[in-house]
Amino acid sequence: MNWRAIVAIFTYEMKRFFRTLFQSLISPVISTVLYFIVFGAAIGGRISEIEGVSYGAFIVPGLIMLSILTQSISNASFGIYFPRFSGTIYEYLSAPISAFEMVLGFVGAAAAKSILIGLVILATSAFFVPVTVAHPFWAALFLLLTALTFSLFGFIIGLWADGFEKLQIIPLLIITPLTFLGGSFYSISVLPEFWQKVSLFNPVVYLISGFRWSFYEVADVSLAVSLGMTALFLVICLAIVSWIFRTGYRLKS
């Protein structure tokens, strides 16, 4: 393993994050505050509790997941797209590093950044509602797996995109709707039976459900199913990335 290269890529990417630390953190914090105002105060006033948890506290895991998903995709896709766009990718391709090491550097950094943002949102939420984490280990595991999976997904988008507009199209058209419809702000049990079944095809449901369970022991699907589905998405993304590097798709001619 070329650990020095992995650390170099990771550090370089993190440096980019810390260079714009204020912008990187202020945006999710403001969004969280707005969500609490809109959903917590306006809607929460009408919904007292969901399965024994106050509405404000109930949406916290969903809010964190919403940020983790969008930030992981955006950080990882931009991280690999920018060297492709600027041409500096030549250096990565000609260096003695394997595809796995390259992914570890880029995806590791993207996941680390989004986890940091997730933790900031968790801390911000604590100012508004009483947040408890019943199973910190499971919460950390879901956070890590989700950040890794969606960073890998972002990495794939960054490799596939051939323009800045394409970087945005999948997060905007697919990920954001899936997240909003994945139970970030509600339990899917409140939906009519038909829509509950449709929701089960939404992968985000499993991520949010598992993560919420680790907070309040309240879940839409069982922990094992959530964990299994999260691991499955991770494996699918890994397989696609592995295929990309094997074939050189969009990287090597």
Binding site: A5, A8, I9, Y12, E91, S94, A95, S253
Partner: protein, 306 residues
């Protein structure tokens, strides 16, 4: 000298049907400066990129110091530094940071002394803390060389190193390349400037339409293929070449003031003394004489036109 790079039957085809490299066989000797010449689209950059691992080959093999560049890519890539044709740099980084990053990317530990040495060698030391976006084109080119040298490679590929660089900086670059060679680095450069190859290369390869059409020692090539011309500046203009001199391949300038004798150095020793004796006998006086040899550029143009 033993070869440091061996290219065996290397071919590269694209899905579009373009056959960019056709059965290339080439050996680069350890410690030499090898110039790869060819017109635009000849396959120079594709060849370099294939050796460095940026482009996938279709068939054939590339061995770097005996290691296959695909199956043993870590060993080969550690030995190679690449300076690309375009100015591909992270513009928000400082010179120091970007060069240090390159060193680590190639698996080498921190060595501020080495980074300082190459920055000084490339006259970049006083710019070490400057952001790359503030540098001129020539300075950015130097940063690319510094990045390529950061991991102490044994082989350096320079893809059009002086493209778009002014004359003074070009000569500085040549000095840098010579210095590098003196430290034992093998240098392969592609260039459009034949003058550059003529000035620096030990051997020259000419590639055209994906085929290596010639590989030759530069001096031997110029000696072997060079046309020479002896020109006499006459005291009085002539109306025509005298018949007595017709056995020589002579030509007269339009104004009749210069008589030229063209000969091929490959065809044995030219009879220059015989020609001068005959000129004396014909009572043609001259005030000056000079010889010209075909440049590498003439040879190159001749080859690619074939």
């Amino acid at each position: 000298m033993n070869p440091i790079i061996q290219i065996k039957s290397l071919s590269k085809s694209y899905k579009s049907g373009l056959h960019a490299l056709k059965d290339i066989n080439l050996e680069i000797m350890r410690g030499e400066i090898f110039a790869l010449l060819g017109p635009n689209g000849a396959g120079k950059t594709t060849l370099i990129s294939t050796i460095c691992g940026i482009v996938n080959k279709t068939s054939g093999a590339v061995l770097v110091d005996g290691h296959d560049n695909v199956t043993d890519f870590r060993a080969t890539r550690k030995m190679i530094g690449l300076v690309p044709q375009e100015l591909h740099l992270s513009i928000f980084e400082s010179v120091w940071d970007t060069v240090t990053f390159s060193r680590k990317l190639f698996g080498r530990g921190d060595s501020p002394q080495h980074v300082e040495k190459i920055l000084k060698q490339l006259s970049l030391w006083d710019k070490k803390d400057d952001k790359i976006m503030t540098l001129s084109g020539g300075m950015k080119r130097r940063v690319l060389i510094a990045k390529a040298l950061a991991h102490e490679p044994q082989i350096l590929f320079l893809d059009e190193p002086t493209a778009g660089v002014d004359v003074e900086l070009r000569k500085d670059m040549w000095n840098v390349v010579r210095e590098l060679r003196s430290t034992g680095v093998t240098i392969i450069l592609t260039t459009h400037y034949i003058e550059e190859a003529e000035e620096m290369a030990d051997r020259v390869g000419v590639i055209n339409k994906g085929q290596m059409i010639l590989v030759e020692d530069k001096n031997a090539l110029m000696k072997k293929m060079g046309q020479k011309k002896l020109t006499l500046v006459l005291d009085k203009p002539l109306a025509a070449v005298p018949k007595k001199l017709s056995k020589f391949n002579l030509s007269l300038s339009k104004d009749g003031n210069e008589l030229s004798y063209a000969f091929d150095a490959r065809e044995g020793r030219p009879d220059i003394s015989g020609l001068l004796k005959e000129i004396d006998t014909a009572k043609i006086s001259y005030s000056d004489l000079h010889t010209e040899q075909n440049s590498l550029e003439d040879i190159f143009m001749g080859l690619v036109k074939q």
